[in-house]
Symmetry: C2
Subunit: 349 residues, 2 copies
């Protein structure tokens, strides 16, 4: 009886292998080689930093940017800094469904981690910020973030703090009046471009075949096989494209969303962009609950299952979700030491 | 002409020395010895940590307390942690006149630095918190700080974060249910008891006579001679007593106070406690503008002058204020390395 069940199981697995064109048992050395080859094609290891032609990374910019990342005094109520919604101790996310900015104002969406975010095609869930520099700059006047009435007002505040002009001068040595909102953005951006968090998955991608455990390899396999990697590819596991949330069913059917967000449609006004969001990066995803653009799902397990359902039309089994979860945990990386050291800010007077 | 002026000047200085009983020129070796002897009597160097019989410092408590110091998830809107009003990068004060807590709520007074604050006789400007532990605990339910409806609600939030129970167990190994608001307070308190910031002044007090420059020594001399040290004594330069703000004139005459605070009277209802506040510690004072219980004065220079006027009835000259300012800057110390490293918080799920 047990024997015949086994035969049926093996035959179905072989059929699956045939249909999928990949091996679902990456246990042996050969299977791991195959998995590694496939994974290298789909993902690739993280770079050591994320460069930008428009904003070359220099140590002086990074040093200033790290200080400015903690600067609350250029927000309208003096309480908001980049670190408010992206605290390093919580993997540069804030644990809230939707972030709360100056004067208790609610942001429209969940704060994504800033770790590795410089590698994305744009910033914000709906891609309405060009890059991390643009995000940093616009945050200054963003009504629910820093809420400043003008860039000039922010620049004035920075200039009033005597310690800043020399730091800006060092970071932007060719400029006569370097204390500007644009340079605030460039400095913060340069710092953020260093926030790359290599993990065990990168070790695996670089050829350390034992860097992942068997369940994690199975999870990686499932992640690619089921279709997750269709969108969540690249070294960042996406942030490289936009996609409708709820291709097969409305996402609100499964999430605890308070309202339905029209997503990128609010930017482009194209009907095809309704409910479209930037595919989020999955680096450090286990550390950055709650999930989705509205933070409407508390547990990664549920988020994985919902994605299978509404994006791929698949009812993932508990074993499949568990394996994917095990794989996703291998994406938890090391935050650069420099970013875990608190900079001393220039005093107010 | 110049000669005779010099003679008159020297004679008046000698008279001053005679009247004050101390030497106003701490330039020579003997004068520095005298100054050092006096300073040792009045102040004394900082301890390496600030122990408590009720809450012995252990490495496990300190480690947990440092994590909890950054924990926003036990505040009612998920944005407030100890670090919100006491960020290390700003020397554990927040640069605001009055701190802003959950949902944009204004606190009644300026956030004093938490550095060295464990050495004070009580916590808060009006001494309505017993010690740093009591302050940490009451902050949880403080309407304008964490704003939680009950300690139980905060404990529940902490228990829901799976990473916390084992950390509390390690820190409080004898307790069956260690995740409590009291232990939150003890852990945070233990961390804060390590926040001691020795400076050049301590080197001087320990006998390094050249640790202070001549203007700084002059400032120290003036600080003692003018009467500042009458209240601002001890290794912390006070935090050891309560005193009326505005002994000789109402403080509001010189500060930019929006309203007049009745101070400790609101705690004791004793008429004699009207306008009485805890004498603030002066360690790192140059880094923690704005000044006074209501943050009503932006510059330390002005704060020094006002103190001379309303507390001592003296119109300090520019030279005197400059010297005192130079001395106060020697109180800027080194924040312990451990406190400048951001801890990783346990994730939400």
């Amino acid at each position: 009886m047990i024997g015949s069940k086994r035969v049926v199981f093996s035959l179905s697995m072989l059929l699956l292998v045939f249909l999928a064109g990949v091996n679902p048992w990456p246990a042996g050395a050969d299977e791991t080689d195959t998995l590694l080859t496939q994974a290298k094609r789909v993902f690739g290891p993280l770079p050591s930093a994320i460069p930008s032609q428009r904003n070359p990374i220099t140590p002086e910019k990074v040093a200033l940017g790290k200080i400015l990342y903690y600067e609350t005094r250029i927000s309208v109520d003096g309480t908001v800094s980049c670190a408010r919604c992206h605290p390093m101790g919580l993997y540069a996310a804030d644990g809230l469904r939707k972030s709360i900015g100056n004067n208790g104002k609610l942001n429209p969406r969940n704060a994504p981690t800033i770790l590795n975010a410089a590698g994305e095609i744009s910033a914000h869930w709906i891609g309405n910020r060009l890059d991390v520099e643009d995000q940093a700059k616009q945050a200054i006047m963003g009504p629910p973030s820093f809420g400043m009435p003008s860039y000039e007002a922010a620049e004035r505040k920075l200039r009033e703090i005597k310690g800043y002009p020399p730091l800006f001068q060092k970071a932007f040595p060719e400029e006569k009046e370097p204390v500007t909102a644009d340079n605030f953005a460039k400095a913060v951006g340069a710092f953020e471009r260093t926030l790359v968090t290599p993990s065990r998955f990168d070790a695996f991608l670089k050829g350390a075949k034992t860097a992942l455990t068997e369940p994690e390899k199975r999870g990686l396999q499932t992640f690619m096989q089921t279709g997750c990697a269709g969108c969540h590819s690249s070294p960042y596991l996406s942030g490289q494209m936009y996609q409708k949330f709820g291709i097969l069913e409305p996402y609100g059917k499964y999430t605890k969303s308070a309202d339905i967000d029209e997503g990128r449609y609010t930017v482009t006004k194209n009907e095809t962009d309704k409910y479209v969001f930037k595919v989020p990066i999955l680096r450090n995803v286990e550390k950055t609950a709650p999930y989705f653009h509205d933070g409407s799902v508390d547990h990664l397990y549920d988020a994985i299952w919902i994605m299978g359902k509404v994006q791929l039309g698949k009812e993932l089994t508990k074993a499949q979700v568990d394996d994917i979860l095990a794989f996703l945990r291998t994406l938890t990386g090391n935050i650069p030491e420099n970013a875990l050291q608190i900079p001393l800010l220039p005093p107010s007077e």
